[in-house]
C-alpha cells in the first residue's frame, strides 16, 4: 500500500520511517499517506504510477481527464495498463533509458482522431526497484502558441524588411525630388553657354567660308597681277577687318562657355559622387559647400546674395555626398525663405573637436509653433507637390549618422539660422 504513493524519495523516506515506527506512529503514517494521496489527487498534472510490466498502480484524476482527451472517442479509459492511455504514449526505449538513468523526459505527439493531435511532455522517474512514476503535461497549446509566435515573428521580420525598403525608397525619392528641383536651374545654366557656343559655331562657319572666298579672290587677283588697291577692295568687300576683330572674341567667348559647362558637370559629379554608404573619408567641408553652392547657385542667384565666411577647417571624417545633400536642403530652404531679395550667410568654424557650419538667411523666419516640427518627416509648409517634407528629416538623419547635431533657431520676420556641428573624427 505504502508503495502506491511512494512517488518521491522524501515520501519513501517517510514511509520507511512509518514502517519502523511504533503503533502510535503507524496511525500518524496512515494519516500522512491519506494526506499525500489527497495531495497527488489534487495536483493538476497527470500523474501515473506503474510497474515494469506497465500495469498501472495509480492514476490521479488529472491523468484520467487527460487520457480521455487523448482518446478519439473522448470516452473514459480504464487505464489498467499504460497502453490504455494511448498505444504510442510510452515506448520501450524511454522506459529502458529511465531504468538506466533513473529518469527520462521527452515529448510525444499523439494522433487523437479527426486529424487532431496532442503534444505531451512526459517525465518518467524510477521509483523504488520496479516502479515508475510518470507525469504527463499537455503542451499542445504551448507549442501552438510557440509556433504562432514563430510565425508572427517571421511576419514581423518581413514587415521590418519591407519598412526598411520603403524608407530607402522614400529617401531615394526625396533625393530625386531635390534633383528635379535642381534640374531646371542646371538646364538653364547649361543651355545658356551651349546656346551661344552653338550659335558662335554657326557664325564661325560663315566667317570661314568668307575667309576661304577671300583667299580665292586674293589668289585670282594675284594671278592677274593685281596691286594693293584691288587687295584693299577685296578686304573691304568681305569685311575682313571685322572678321579679324571678331574671330578671337568669338573663340574666347566660346571657350568660356565650354569651361562653364565643364565646371557645372564637374560640380554635379562632385555633388552626387557615387560612394558606397560606408565609405567614410576625410574630406574638405569647404569643397562640399562650394560645389553645392555652385550647383544651386542657379536657384539662388536671382534672389540672394551669398556671404561666405570660411574659417580654417581640418579635414572631416564623413560621407561627403550625403553631407552635400544636407547642405543643399538647408541652402534651398534658406533661398525659399527669402521672398524677394536677401542675404544667405555660410559661416564655418572649429568648436573644440567639432566643426561648425552655420547657414543663415534674412528671410521670413519660422513661426514658433512650427519650429519644433521642422525636422519631422513629411512636415512641410510648402504647397502640395513642391516639397516632400523630408528634406530636413533626412538631413537630420544624415547628421545624426555622422554623430553630429543640427539645430535651428529663427525669428519670424528676421530670418533663420541652421547650425550643423560635426565631429572631426568619428568615434571608434
Amino acid at each position: 500500500m505504502s508503495t502506491a504513493i511512494a512517488l518521491h524519495a522524501p515520501i519513501e523516506a517517510a514511509s520507511r520511517a512509518a514502517r519502523s515506527a511504533p503503533a502510535a506512529d503507524a496511525a500518524r503514517a496512515d494519516a500522512m499517506e491519506a494526506t499525500l494521496r489527497a495531495l497527488v489527487d489534487a495536483v493538476p498534472t497527470a500523474t501515473l504510477l506503474f510497474d515494469a510490466d506497465q500495469q498501472v498502480r495509480y492514476a490521479n484524476p488529472a491523468a484520467r481527464v487527460l487520457a480521455r482527451l487523448c482518446a478519439p472517442d473522448k470516452a473514459d479509459r480504464p487505464l489498467a495498463v499504460v497502453g490504455d492511455w494511448h498505444p504510442e504514449l510510452l515506448n520501450s526505449g524511454a522506459l529502458h533509458l529511465c531504468s538506466m538513468h533513473g529518469s527520462w523526459s521527452g515529448e510525444v505527439i499523439l494522433g487523437v482522431g479527426r486529424g487532431q493531435h496532442k503534444i505531451l511532455l512526459l517525465h518518467l522517474s524510477r521509483v523504488g526497484a520496479d516502479l515508475f512514476g510518470m507525469t504527463v503535461r499537455d503542451i499542445t497549446q504551448d507549442s501552438m502558441r510557440e509556433s504562432e509566435l514563430h510565425a508572427r515573428n517571421a511576419e514581423l521580420e518581413v514587415a521590418y524588411a519591407k519598412l526598411q525598403g520603403a524608407q530607402e525608397q522614400v529617401m531615394q525619392s526625396e533625393k530625386l525630388a531635390s534633383i528635379g528641383q535642381l534640374a531646371a536651374g542646371v538646364a538653364h545654366e547649361i543651355n545658356n553657354p551651349i546656346g551661344y557656343v552653338n550659335s558662335n559655331l554657326s557664325t564661325l562657319q560663315r566667317y570661314i567660308s568668307q575667309l576661304f572666298s577671300a583667299i580665292q579672290s586674293y589668289e585670282a587677283a594675284l594671278a592677274g597681277g593685281a596691286g594693293a588697291t584691288e587687295a584693299e577692295s577685296i578686304r573691304q568687300k568681305l569685311d575682313l577687318d571685322f572678321l579679324v576683330g571678331d574671330v578671337p572674341q568669338l573663340l574666347s567667348e566660346s571657350r568660356e562657355g565650354i569651361d562653364r559647362v565643364c565646371k557645372i558637370v564637374r560640380d554635379l559629379k562632385d555633388f552626387a559622387r557615387k560612394e558606397r554608404s560606408e565609405d567614410w573619408i576625410k574630406a574638405d567641408i569647404h569643397r562640399g559647400l562650394d560645389s553645392t553652392l555652385n550647383i544651386i547657385w542657379n536657384e539662388l542667384k536671382y534672389k540672394a546674395q551669398i556671404v561666405k565666411t570660411f574659417g580654417e577647417l581640418p579635414p572631416v571624417e564623413c560621407l561627403p555626398s550625403e553631407l552635400n545633400q544636407v547642405f543643399m536642403n538647408v541652402l534651398m530652404n534658406a533661398g525659399q525663405a527669402i521672398r524677394d531679395q536677401g542675404i544667405i550667410t555660410v559661416t564655418t568654424s572649429v568648436a573644440g573637436e567639432r566643426v561648425r557650419v552655420d547657414i543663415g538667411d534674412d528671410g521670413e523666419g519660422i513661426p514658433p509653433d512650427v519650429l519644433p516640427r521642422v525636422f519631422d518627416p513629411f512636415f512641410t509648409t510648402k504647397p502640395v507637390g513642391s516639397g516632400t517634407g523630408l528634406g530636413l528629416a533626412i538631413s537630420y538623419g544624415i547628421v545624426s549618422k555622422h554623430h553630429g547635431t543640427i539645430e535651428v533657431s529663427s525669428t519670424p520676420g528676421q530670418g533663420t539660422l541652421l547650425r550643423i556641428e560635426l565631429p572631426i573624427a568619428q568615434p571608434r
Partner: protein, 167 residues
Amino acid sequence: MYRILLVDDEPNILSALRRCLASIDVGELDGEALKVEAFTSPEQALERSEEQDFDLVVSDYRMPGMDGVEFLSAMMELQPAVPRMICSGYADRDAIIAAVNEVQLARFIGKPWVDEELAAAVVALLRPGGTRVRAQKALRAQAASARITRVEQDDDGAIVLRSDDPA
C-alpha cells in the same frame, strides 16, 4: 532701318545673338539695315525704350531682378505694338504659358537655338506678309490679342502662336 532690342543677363548670349542677326541679308529686309541694341539689364533696356521705339524685342526669361515676362509687360506699356520674343533655356511649361498669356508673345525660342530659325523668325516678325512692319503697327496694336487663335508646341518645344487669318 529696323531697330531690335536684345535683353539677356549673359553678355556672351548678346554677342552671339548680334552675330546671328548680322548674318541676315539686308535683301531679306527690303534693303533696310538692322540696328541692334543689347542690354544685360532689363531696367536699362526699359529706360532706353522710353526714348527709343523698337521694331522687335527679344528677351531672356530668367534674369536677376526682373524676369522676362515682367520686363515684356513693362515693355508692352511703353510700346504696345512692338512684337515680343523670348529666347530662354528655361523650359518650364507654366512659365511659357504665362509668357504667352500675359505678354502675348509672338515667339518663344528655346536655348540652344538654331541660328537660321532665329534669323527667320526675326525676319518674319519684322516683315509680316512682306510689308513693312511700321505701316502695320497701328493695326496690329488693336488686333494683337484678338488675332492669336492657336497656341502650338512645335517639334523642338518652341511655342508657336498662329492666327487663322494669314496676316
